[in-house]
């Protein structure tokens, strides 16, 4: 072991700020952090025992116990939650006989874990076993999934070999999206099949992998661009259909073609199971297709060239105008001029707070210091939000360009990307992009032959939502527990290592090149009086067409839900949208005509947040939603200040009581008053905004709280307040009895079945499996 640890230390350094990278490396090696390994680190570096242990227990990425051979990660992000993720989690533990206090089965084969958000919200509920992602998982499918996992050869499929054809006479181009969510939906499989099919048929087409298309609800998505024909979209395809599609468009040839392997591709080892098969073909000329409707009304600035651009093809990015803005800045503009442009554009921080970016840049610029830093905040921790991930994965060069422009404007000499370790693809693509930039003199000394020199590196976050808060983020980069500090002083004046530091969100930086190239006015024309430009949202939940959208600020909720999102599935009634994740709030359907901008949202009790937008329908319990978000923030509180550490916990306990039918009428008042004092008395944004989901639901859905206290949850979401029953429609098919994990339903062929409530654990399997919907919740 010592050898391995020594090697890690040699690589990562011996200073205190190496502590997180060292621990990450140890965990990669052992799957957990052996005590002896940590002790070895203390012996050989400046890192003390109290630091290493304080850090390893603060960040949720780190484990102190060995884990099972395979790790089952059940996503409990917002979209998965509203689609029953907890039942799936319980089902896995039940299936593997794992007791409540444990996370690993007796054989040490599986460890079951919850994960905040895998960002595959559109195929919720989602489960990952090792590197394999399963979508639309239901409790009744769990044993099947485990069997299948164990019986399948899971060596990752090598999709690395991207096929490019040397011959110039291409018949066309086939585009396939390869963002994390696309991959999770089976795009890799499709791509593999596509390449195989092209090879077998000797068809001369360019297969181009593009970044996230945003239309996550329709993936895997193939776009066929054939010379002289309007492009065609194929949505939700599975690999077995690929051959047929290809043959439809291209004629097979027999001539041998030499194939070349392009090694610049990526290893994307995901396959997908359980996606409903529904291949649909649309021509891009029709306007009433799901794809067209989804894209209609969106404006692509941060996501410019969406679905066209290959994520880390520097040449293509440059060909499409990339880095022209940077060149313009370096050659033609003084830093102050750039700051003026940003100010005039009205750009406000996209991380949630909405602070005017130009002003922030100006403060950093005007603070005198021999060195300054710049940080791209990509620590997107909200469940139900994956905008930053998508931007980093799909448009790495754009973010880098925005960042370098900002660095030049404020006079920073080095900077870093702070990216969640849960986003491996984003980390990988930024890493590659940085490499290409360095090679092309876009980073480094005398960038583009100017006098400006600047370097960029990556810091991987270790799993702490609080590190999205800028002072906590800085603490973590410096090798400390991610505790926020009192502001002032603001990082713009005294940040990383006490130096002036500009911290902006990923999306903010990605808007900058467009503003420079198109002009401040063009940007300021979009949006509202006080909130300019566009905002990227992750649209998920009970919506027909979920995905990533970039819309002008000021668009109404109704517009997003009904037009872009195509309304609520299964004819259910639209109830509310949850905007802004754990810091945001729920806005009822009745208010869906309010414009989405910083001010209107906070007036309504929500928050722009970083852009999660989860649609809720009549089946969603608002008390449960409030509890869900509070459970998240409570768990993510750093624990520094009293109100957040204990206040959020007590609020959660009250909500637990209310949801389990043990609430008292006076609890609502205590909850509300504690929510207000937690807002008032907390130190940082996390605590100050944590009560928002509670306060907004109390404001708009108070009656639901009262109903719970009176013993009923009308949506049937709160387990302790419901019972299962089987109605006379039962045809006696015995499916429910066969699948019931607790034998609460007796096996009675051709008779009406009965649920024994004493034995029932409310896992919902019977209701899902019943072919005639005879199982109901009371």
């Amino acid at each position: 072991m010592n050898k391995i640890i020594d090697k890690i230390i040699a690589e990562k350094g011996t200073t205190v700020d190496a502590v997180i990278p060292i621990l990450q490396a140890i965990q990669t090696e052992y799957n957990y952090l052996p005590t002896e390994a940590m002790q070895r680190v203390c012996d050989l570096t400046d890192i003390t025992a109290e630091r290493i242990y304080g850090i390893s227990t603060f960040y949720s990425q780190f484990r102190h116990q060995p884990v099972g051979k395979h790790i089952i990660k059940v996503c409990v992000g917002t979209a998965c939650h509203v689609k029953g993720a907890m039942r799936v989690f319980d089902a896995f533990k039940r299936e593997l006989n794992i007791s409540e206090d444990n996370d690993t089965d007796n054989e040490g084969l599986f460890t079951v874990d919850k994960v905040a958000c895998l960002g595959c919200c559109t195929i919720a509920p989602v489960v990952q076993i090792d590197d394999i992602t399963y979508g639309h998982v239901q409790p009744s499918k769990v044993s099947e999934i485990i069997d299948e996992f164990l019986n399948t050869d899971n060596t990752p499929m090598d999709s690395d070999a991207s096929v490019t054809i040397q011959n110039k006479n291409l018949e066309g181009e086939i585009r396939i999206g390869l963002g994390s969510c696309c991959i999770a939906s089976g795009s890799s499989d499709v791509k593999g099949e596509l390449e195989k099919s092209l090879k077998v048929n000797n068809i001369n087409v360019d297969v181009k992998q593009v970044g996230c298309v945003g239309i996550c609800n329709q993936v895997p998505l193939l776009e066929i661009h054939k010379n002289g024909e309007a492009p065609h979209y194929y949505t939700k395809i599975v690999s077995t259909e690929v051959n047929e599609i290809i043959r439809k468009h291209f004629r097979s040839k027999n001539i041998f073609r030499r194939l070349k392997t392009d090694i610049s591709g990526f290893i994307d080892n995901y396959v997908i199971k359980g996606i409903p098969v529904s291949t649909k073909k649309y021509s891009s000329e029709s306007t009433d297709t799901p794809v067209a409707e989804f894209l209609n009304g969106q404006i692509n600035i941060a996501t410019e060239h969406r679905g066209v651009i290959k994520p880390n093809d520097l040449k293509e990015y440059s060909r499409l105008g990339g880095f022209n803005s940077l060149k313009k800045c370096l050659l033609n503009y003084e830093p102050d001029q750039i700051i003026d442009i940003i100010k005039q554009s009205g750009l406000r921080g996209r991380g949630g707070g909405g602070f005017p970016s130009g002003l922030k840049w100006e403060i950093v610029k005007n603070t005198k210091s021999n060195s300054k830093y710049i940080i791209c905040n990509g620590d997107e921790g909200d469940p139900g939000a994956f905008m930053d991930r998508m931007l980093l994965e799909s448009y790495p060069f754009r973010v880098i360009e925005g960042l370098i422009i900002a660095a030049y404007a404020v006079g920073a000499d080095s900077g870093l990307f702070y990216i969640r370790a849960e986003y491996p693809l984003a980390v990988k693509r930024i890493k590659e992009a940085l490499y290409y930039c360095q090679k092309d003199n876009i980073l480094g000394n005398n960038i583009m032959n100017s006098n400006f020199s600047f370097s960029l590196s990556i810091f991987e976050g270790a799993g702490a939502f609080i590190c999205g808060e800028e002072t906590a983020l800085i603490a973590s980069v410096e090798g400390n527990r991610g505790l926020p500090k009192m502001r002032p002083p603001y990082p713009a004046i005294s940040g990383l290592w006490g130096k002036p530091t500009l911290i902006n969100n990923t999306e903010t930086f990605s808007l900058v090149p467009w503003i420079i190239s198109k002009g401040a006015d063009s940007f300021a024309k979009i949006g509202t009086e006080q909130s300019k430009g566009t905002k990227v949202f992750a649209l998920a939940g009970k919506i027909n067409r979920g995905g990533l959208i970039e819309v002008p600020i000021g668009i109404t909720i109704r517009n997003i839900v009904e037009e872009i999102g195509g309304g609520i599935p299964d004819g259910k009634a639209f109830k509310a949208v949850q905007i802004g994740g754990p810091s945001g709030g729920c806005i009822p359907a009745s208010m869906s005509d309010i414009p989405i901008d910083f001010e209107s949202l906070s007036e309504a009790g929500a928050m722009m947040g970083s852009g999660g937008l989860v649609v809720l329908d009549e089946d969603d319990c608002m008390v449960d939603i409030a509890r869900y978000f509070l459970a998240f923030t409570q768990d993510q509180s750093c624990g520094k200040c009293t109100f957040c550490r204990i206040g959020t916990r007590r609020m959660l306990e009250i909500l637990d009581n209310i949801c389990s039918g043990e609430g008292k009428p006076e609890d609502i008042e205590i909850l509300e008053s504690l929510a207000y004092s937690t807002k008032k008395g907390s130190l940082c944004g996390l605590g100050k905004s944590a009560p928002n989901p509670v306060l907004s639901t109390l404001k708009y859905f108070r009656q639901e709280y009262m109903d719970h206290i009176n013993g009923s949850c009308r949506t049937g979401k709160c387990k302790d307040l419901i019972i299962y029953a089987i109605e006379d429609d039962c045809i006696g098919c015995t499916k429910c009895a066969q699948d019931c994990p607790t034998e609460a339903i007796e096996f009675k062929p051709y008779e009406i079945h009965i649920v024994e409530n004493e034995l029932c654990i409310k896992c919902d399997i019977c209701r899902q499996i019943c072919p005639v919907n005879a199982v109901i919740i009371r």
């Binding site: 702490a464 768990d635 624990g639």
Partner: protein, 520 residues
């Protein structure tokens, strides 16, 4: 220099001064717990919040830099409520008792655990002092007290309660047998005379404390010998007369004048007592047995009506205590009331306003979980309860008393008077139960260090100790483990407390704002 306004007062301070320190310069005290000058851990407790008038928001003053033109309010209702709520939240996560459960359940509020510890150390003289501070007749009560304290004793949950009553009796008997029995230090003579009617437990107790306050005391009783119910209702085989006499003797030695065979009637009361005495205490036993109705005092259906806080009847200078105000079964209640009445009499005679002595805020967490027995037993010996030989009539040997006393588990806090959480909870009248919703945390006690004890569940996570151990270059220091609600300040990598506190133990105990780290 920076000029700002705090509570409408202007002040100039150096740049970089916090609002907390600026206020201090103005003589404005802002409560703090997590703050310690020179440290960087704060703010965390949020007790020091003040209001910035410009935005109306609350900010922790310990970390708020004073700014030119700033206007600060340090105390209004909103600030008071926020501080109180911060305290209440901290209390909801504070698993520890200020007082051991036995003490508040003793009507006389005697410091039982302290007595136990002194006995265990063989310090009987110090022990009797502790006892007599609150109980004037410990030997007598040693025979007849039903010992409500033992019903509350934590040890009862584990095996059997500590024999508190017998220990107290042992201390008292030890003292009486001694050549020089303990006599309380008497205040200089005030020249005032107090008449006490009745020489039962309430009257005797009242006399004991009144005498020690420096007043002359005359006790009237209708019977031939003093003691009231103690002598005439309790048989010799329950309370031997020699024991009764010996404690009365101490009161006599203290200067009490007994006037026996005098039944106070209305005339005598009006003519003699009211004229000749500066204060009168009525302690003549059960109301029904007396002719008090004639005296013209107001009464309730239970007895004489008094001000419950001051023991005054509706006539100035006249007090009442014991069964006369309401018949109780326990002599200890009368003894306790005798002391309280004496305190009021003393205040009255000194011309002070008569105030009930408010009991200080007391955090209590209730029963132990079974899994915590082991933790609590770390502080007490695991020996079996020793019963008094011969029922309540016998007495412990010194060896037995030491052994029995060492069963006490030290439930009381070691910093009852310096814990800031207690002091401010008292000041802000915090409700410790307000936020008790979920299950409380489990108690752990680290007592292996030779100088201090560490009890993590009394910690408010201020991190002062973490910073002290780091700054004083302990080779391994305390660290914060975990995150959020589950944070615990503890030893990293399974080190022991002795390993991490090699030179900072006493400093940590001193600076810890609660009883979490305390001197042994």
């Amino acid at each position: 220099m920076i000029e700002l306004i705090i509570d409408n007062k202007k002040i100039k301070v150096k740049e970089g001064t916090t609002v907390l320190n600026a206020a201090k310069q103005l003589g404005i005290e802002i409560p703090t717990m997590c703050f310690l000058d020179g440290m960087t851990n704060h703010p965390s407790c949020m007790l020091c919040v003040v209001k910035d008038v410009s935005d109306g928001k609350l900010h922790p003053s310990c970390a708020l830099p004073a700014n030119s033109g700033m206007e600060i309010i340090t105390n209004d209702n909103e600030i008071f409520d926020a501080r109180k709520e911060a305290l209440e939240l901290l209390l909801s996560d504070h698993v520890g008792d200020c007082e051991a459960p036995c003490r508040p359940s003793c009507p006389a509020n005697m410091n039982i655990p302290l007595m136990n510890r002194l006995i265990a150390e063989g310090k009987h003289r110090e022990a009797i002092e502790v006892v007599k501070k609150d109980i004037a007749l410990p030997l007598i009560l040693g025979y007849i007290c039903p010992a409500p304290c033992e019903k509350a004793c934590r040890r009862k949950q584990i095996d059997k309660p500590v024999s508190i009553c017998a220990l107290k009796k042992n201390v008292a008997a030890h003292d009486i047998d001694n050549d020089t029995s303990y006599m309380p230090k008497k205040a200089p003579s005030s020249g005032k005379k107090v008449a006490i009617i009745g020489s039962g437990p309430a009257g005797l107790s009242c006399a004991y404390y009144t005498l020690s306050h420096g007043h002359h005391c005359v006790i009237f009783d209708k019977n031939a010998q003093p003691g009231g119910t103690l002598r005439y209702d309790i048989p010799d085989d329950k309370l031997p007369k020699h024991s009764l006499n010996s404690e009365i003797e101490i009161i006599k030695k203290l200067g009490a004048e007994f006037r026996m065979n005098i039944e106070i009637n209305k005339e005598l009361f009006k003519s003699e007592l009211t004229n000749q005495y500066d204060a009168i205490v009525i302690a003549m036993g059960n109301f029904g047995d007396t002719n008090l109705v004639d005296f013209g005092f107001k009464s309730t259906k239970y007895g004489l009506q008094i001000n419950r806080d001051t023991f005054e009847v509706d006539t100035t200078g006249v007090f009442a205590c014991g069964n006369i105000i309401r018949s109780r079964r326990m002599a200890i209640t009368s003894v306790a009331q005798g002391k309280s009445a004496a305190t009021s009499v003393n205040q009255y005679l000194k011309g002070e306003s008569i105030q009930k002595k408010k009991r200080m805020f007391n955090s209590k967490f209730g029963k132990l979980y079974d899994s915590e027995f082991e933790e609590y037993l770390k502080e007490g010996s695991d020996s079996q309860r020793i019963e008094l030989p011969d029922g309540k009539m016998g007495d412990f040997s010194t060896k037995q008393s030491t052994k029995e006393a060492s069963r006490c588990m030290h439930c009381d806090c070691r910093k009852p008077n310096t814990c800031k959480l207690r002091i401010y909870s008292d000041e802000y009248d915090a409700d410790r139960k307000k936020f008790l919703f979920g299950e409380r945390k489990k108690i752990k006690i680290y007592n292996k260090h030779n100088l201090i004890n560490y009890e993590p569940e009394k910690c408010i996570r201020c991190n002062i100790c973490v910073e002290i151990t780091a700054k004083q270059k302990e080779s391994i220091g305390f660290t914060s483990i975990g995150r959020g609600f589950d944070i615990e300040i503890n030893m990293p990598l399974n080190r022991s407390i002795s390993e991490i506190l090699t030179k900072t133990a006493l400093l940590c105990a001193k600076e810890c704002p609660t009883g979490a780290i305390s001197r042994k």
